[in-house]
């Protein structure tokens, strides 16, 4: 109902703007009359107040309509199951959060970004990772795929097949960074440096 109202609101606004544009293009609006009306609205205090308030109402309605429409879209992107007391829906962004946290716990992964899609065949996960250079990629990715699939099945209690695609986007040097860090630490760790007695 709310979505229908939002769509109706936008339809009316766009139809109104479209009609105005067409009337303007076909010279159906007298330009002098238009200017007079605009000048009246610009100068008259009551008209200015009405225009300002209408503007505010339109902004609020627009925000509300956007929220309803985006909410509706988000609502569709969920995994749902039923309990005796009611339904439980899990947004796909929650699944993405979990995968991200899981990936960040592994020392081989520097950064990870997950994209989850629920299809009729099951759940498709695309994971984009940045790895450290020492990692054996085939072994590690196979282990990661198993880990993600089993963790999702365990945490969310999902029975559907889970397809995990891993995309290694970048491999960064692990040793270089550690060396730099240890050098920095050595420089910092000199006690009472510069102290004159």
């Amino acid at each position: 109902m709310k979505t229908a109202l939002s769509i109706l609101f936008y339809t009316i606004i766009f139809a109104f703007i479209g009609t105005l544009a067409m009337a303007f293009a076909f010279h159906l609006i007298d330009i002098n009359e238009l200017m007079t009306q605009l000048a009246y609205a610009y100068n008259d205090l009551r008209m200015r107040l009405i225009t300002g308030l209408s503007g505010l109402v339109f902004i609020l309605l627009s925000f509300s309509a956007t929220q309803v429409i985006t909410g509706k879209i988000q609502r569709e992107k969920t995994i749902a199951f039923n309990n005796p007391n009611g339904q439980v829906t899990i947004t796909l962004s929650a699944v993405e959060d979990l995968i991200k946290r899981l990936a960040h716990q592994l020392s081989e992964i520097k950064d990870a970004k997950a994209d989850v899609k629920a299809t009729k065949k099951g759940i498709d996960i695309r994971l984009r990772v940045v790895l450290r250079s020492e990692t054996n990629i085939p072994d590690f990715t196979a282990r990661l795929q198993d880990l993600i699939a089993s963790k999702i099945q365990e945490v969310f209690g999902i029975d559907e097949p889970i397809n995990v695609k891993i995309h290694v986007a970048k491999i960064i040097g692990f040793e270089d960074k550690q060396k730099k860090r240890s050098e920095k630490n050595e420089e910092i760790d000199v006690p009472y440096q510069g102290l004159k007695i």
């Binding site: 925000f63 309990n83 962004s93 929650a94 959060d97 946290r101 969310f156």
Partner: protein, 116 residues
Amino acid sequence: MREEEKTDFGTIKIHNNVIASIAYLAALEVDGVSRICDDIKSRIAYLIGKKTKCGAIDTKTEKNENMSITVPIIVKYGYNIPEVALKVQEKIKTAVEQAADIPLKDIVVKIKGVEK
């Protein structure tokens, strides 16, 4: 929409916001629930000065039917989500029925995210 009850002295009305607040507090007591999601409406209400928090909990009562509650939650990382959701449903059902004596038809739990 308000839940009404007639007594010898008059009518007792329980506003939906009260039920939402009870559900909010009950859900937070469940181990594994990190927080209840907020929406623009609840944030504005809190800024204006409404001190009873109920987040984005939505309560609905259809004609001659029991109440339905929708609770959007963020779950703590490491917890089993179906178990947490089930506990939230049970906790809310018990809390609302005990506090307001209102039977609930449906408790929809929406898992919006996972965080530490």
